[in-house]
Symmetry: C2
Subunit: 598 residues, 2 copies
């Protein structure tokens, strides 16, 4: 049976020591996030993840969701009870708006809890995760009446939420949406159409489900300019806020998926369902996209979460499993064989994952903190700068953390040999669950296009110049510090590769956008490596300072981080050169063939 | 529903034009393998794969195998009938010994058929695949009587075979085996113990199942020097060769696996089962290992096979699925959107897979041909040289083709967006099936250790020097040919990286073997890239010659290969520099931490 232990110490170290959480106490909500409260929330959140969500992860995968003939969808055993405990603990309220029952704490804190619960049980975490997405959309675009009607119950968790975008013939290209909305005399709309891949689409865990649905109002312009956003409750809500009769929406079937079996992924049929417009007519895509950054950051965290839990289980196994002897002679002479963690290639694999996870967690929190500043700072300049950074890093994090998180889960599974392929060990579930994060909320190829096609050129390259400047300044400021050189030198080399790649796009992709498309995924990963390397360099600086001050019983723990950082510089950063070589090879070979030649 | 079309043209081109199959007609069996016969076999074999094996692949995955309370194991619907057709077609006899009913054709031809059938249905292909392994072991190590008893029926397919190595507490380290064999007065042994992960361990598809079992004879020395190999039939065989009563061996349970659901992976319980020694007492591991090369080559082919079938389906989908518009303006203006194959990143993904598959197929056949020479040549020098090459390339092929084959299946799945995650499209099955090939027949980390620890230093580095010499000579001979330069220059650079890495091991791993272990997987992949690059360079040379001669209606088909080769050089070969950097970073960082710090 797999296990999980929330990385509370690592997270506290990042928030308090590396990212300077307490320096932001002037921001709304941050004053409440005292070190004591942050620690208490992370410890309790970790405990909830470990003790409530994790024990039903493997069984949830094996049992899956079931749909009865009457269309009722039942999640796996224990999910309803765990969800009740989630609501009782107020875990959905952490960073939500205090006007509607939220605690108003920093979103970055909710992100940490989200990592823990996703590691423990990704399929379960998606139920409140989708609700949070719907809450964000309604908060930003709903009328006051809509907010009053939906938000309190959604934030409390008694109602859950969903996002309905995809249709059988369209996912990426939402301009092709066919679901239609017919205006009614009372200002409502009748919504009809079929939506697929709807996570948490139907279930019996909450009193009501609030669907946010993209559809086309009759007579609207074609393409993306004719899409509107609607709120469509599963059960209609009375004037007094009471939950009433069923609306014209139901789960037509459950998808048979590779993983996340504990989450009800539904085909949703809308048949003259009553809905209400959210935001402006025909501006539905814009409404959806304003909340995309946070949703994509949530998926990035899923990549990290599966990498982390897979790593923890691989470490435990490699310490326990005895097989063969160390290349340099027996290490456990009293046993029939040595634990396999003595083998360099086993350690290499583990360090590859660990050195990614810590930097990825740092980059997620660094970005989420920018998200908090962008929403909460009273200083417009600070808001803009943080919004730039959040927008720039979001596709990078989503693409890189889910691609690498999946690869890491596969590598962790490999440590188990044949046992890794067997369901009862739980490792193959992490791989199957992690796989979806590379696909949904915009497949990773789309993230890469968002990065090179939209985020790079935005505002004359303001965001990317600011990132280069920040990393470049850090490199310069630490270039003379001997203890920092093993870290800033590879970082400098990789930053240089990233800047060369950026320049190459500027010089070539203007005349032929295919050059940008052909290098987009490599560029995204190159960018991610520089971001992760920057995080390691920042961490090392803090570690060195703490060690110099005398770290007491934390000394070994801190020193290990230097090893993880060194490994990352030695073994992972060399990839940036290969990415650059691929990017600058351009699109000519890629576009040379007719489709028939493939 | 996924589909499959056997790459017969590509295979014929490799065998006839690139590898000069007909130049070997002096070898036993090769004279029979005339171009006409080879083509007929590949076409019929392809048809069998496409029409018999492929249609039951998805259903076989969804249904899986079932075990009744009486221990009977039933494979999925249609498997028994398909297996009967396999036997009727004589597909197990291709390269088997004519003395026992085989056709004696080149093993490399059987390897091509094996690719087709594995692409079509990997779980199905494993039933005869395991039989072929058992046949090889008995052919090499069995007594004449054993051969007469078992081989004719096994080659015909009326009896199948299995390999029983792994026990719950040991896989890689077979010295820990506990299954025991007690000698009986009649020269037989009573075998007792539990074996796990036994592919095709039990089923009702054949009259009998011949288990090859590793066990320890009572009183044998500890460790690997006390392991013997036994043949243990499921049903005892009478003096007249008739199949009689059940032996003391049964399937205790079926493993619940990530994939290859159509193959019965069994826990096998031996309870005083009657068995007979194969080969010498206590020399069981040696007997097992002599047949390892061919078994590992078979697993390498599985990696290629899933990459190929996943590629084919991804190509079809990307031509069919319309979504969005090309970056350079609409390409299918008459449709609501362009097919997604217009997008550079989609093409990049497809070319990455395709440019691997063709070179991997070439490298497999090149190596298999060396295997044929090593077994069949009358010239001892030629036999030794080919045996060297076969031994050297086997771990490289097993590790690289299964790692990359899996990654390719994942990338092909990605082309389907959300549909790739849904079972009915079949893409997620390819991923799950491909995953096991990285694990069994020696996990890929073990392959890498075999390469650097055993194959590199063997005979004073004779094999690797011979490989360097062959590739280096090719590079030199073609350096002045302008049309070859885009291919031999990157090949030369990568060969140089490989030679530097080899030298680094020589200089460092002697004093500290951890340096070899720490770089072993990178070295294996670096070696694979040079091998694949060499195959592309050889292919390009043939293509150029054919184009110069006037290729008629094959011109576009041949020219496409130049694009695949160029892509490989531009996009894949740059990885060799990163591998070298990682290898030369050594083991110090990797070995620095105590196990507790992970």
């Amino acid at each position: 049976m797999p296990s999980y232990s929330a990385p509370v110490e690592d997270t506290l170290f990042l928030l308090n020591d590396v990212l300077g959480y307490q320096d932001h106490s002037e921001l709304p909500g941050f004053a409440d996030a005292t070190p004591d409260l942050v620690e208490a929330i992370l410890r309790e959140g970790g405990k909830f993840a470990e003790e409530v969500a994790q024990p039903i992860n493997l069984s949830g995968d094996q049992e899956g969701c079931t749909r009865s003939d009457d269309g009722t969808v039942t999640p796996p055993k224990g999910f309803k009870e765990a969800y009740e405990a989630f609501c009782e603990g107020g875990w959905g309220t952490l960073s939500a708006d205090p006007d509607f029952g939220g605690q108003g704490l920093p979103h970055s804190l909710a992100v940490s809890f989200n990592e823990f619960i996703s590691s423990a049980n990704m399929a379960f975490a998606m139920y409140p995760g989708l609700t949070a997405g719907a809450v964000a959309a309604l908060t930003l675009h709903g009328t006051d009446e809509q907010k009053q009607t939906y938000l309190p119950n959604m934030i409390a968790g008694t109602w859950t939420g969903t996002m309905n975008l995809t249709e059988p013939h369209c996912g990426t290209d939402l301009g092709l949406i066919r679901s239609k909305a017919v205006p009614q005399a009372d200002g409502s709309y009748k919504i009809s159409g079929t939506k697929i891949f709807i996570s948490a689409g139907d279930h019996e865990m909450s009193e009501n489900i609030i669907h946010l649905v993209l559809a086309r109002i009759e007579g609207a312009p074609e393409g993306t300019k004719g899409i509107s956003l609607f709120v469509v409750p599963k059960k209609l809500i009375g004037e007094d806020g009471s939950v009433g009769e069923r609306n014209g929406v139901s789960c037509g079937s459950l998808e048979h998926k590779m993983g996340i079996h504990g989450n009800a992924t539904c085909v949703m049929n809308y048949d003259n369902a009553t809905g209400w417009l959210v935001g402006e007519e025909n501006k539905g895509l814009r409404a959806m996209f304003t909340m995309m950054n946070e949703a994509r950051l949530g998926v990035a965290v899923q990549g990290l979460s599966q990498s982390e839990v897979a790593y923890q289980n691989a470490v435990a196994y490699t310490k326990d499993r005895i097989q063969g002897r160390a290349l340099t002679g027996p290490k456990a002479a009293d046993k029939a064989a040595d634990p396999i963690i003595v083998h360099p290639d086993v350690r290499r694999t583990l360090l590859q994952i660990r050195s990614f996870n810590e930097a990825a967690r740092a980059l997620v929190l660094w970005t989420a903190l920018h998200g908090d500043v962008s929403h909460r700072s009273p200083d417009e300049k600070a808001r803009t700068a943080s919004d730039d950074m959040m927008g720039l890093m979001t596709p990078v994090l989503k693409g890189v953390l889910t691609d690498t998180g999946f690869a890491n889960a596969v590598n962790a599974q490999q440590m188990f040999g044949g046992h890794g392929y067997i369901a009862e060990w739980g490792m193959e579930q992490f791989v199957r669950d992690a796989r979806i994060a590379m696909i949904y909320e915009g497949a990773n190829g789309i993230q890469a296009l968002d990065l090179v096609g939209r985020k790079l050129p935005a505002n004359g390259g303001r965001a990317v110049m600011s990132f280069f400047n920040e990393v470049g300044t850090f490199v310069k400021e630490n270039a003379e510090d001997e203890a920092m050189q093993p870290y800033v030198e590879p970082l400098k080399a990789s930053l240089d590769h990233l800047q060369q790649a950026t320049m190459w796009f500027m010089n070539n992709a203007m005349k032929n956008p295919d050059h940008a498309g052909a290098g987009s995924v490599d560029y995204m990963h190159l960018f991610g490596l520089v971001g992760l390397g920057y995080m390691w360099a920042k961490i090392v600086k803090v570690v060195n300072a703490k060690l110099a001050d005398g770290a007491g019983d934390k000394e070994e723990w801190l020193k290990a981080k230097l090893t993880f950082a060194t490994f990352f510089m030695e073994r992972t950063m060399p990839e940036t050169a290969a990415h650059l070589a691929r990017i600058t090879s351009g699109a000519d070979t890629i576009m040379a063939l007719d489709a028939e030649a493939f």
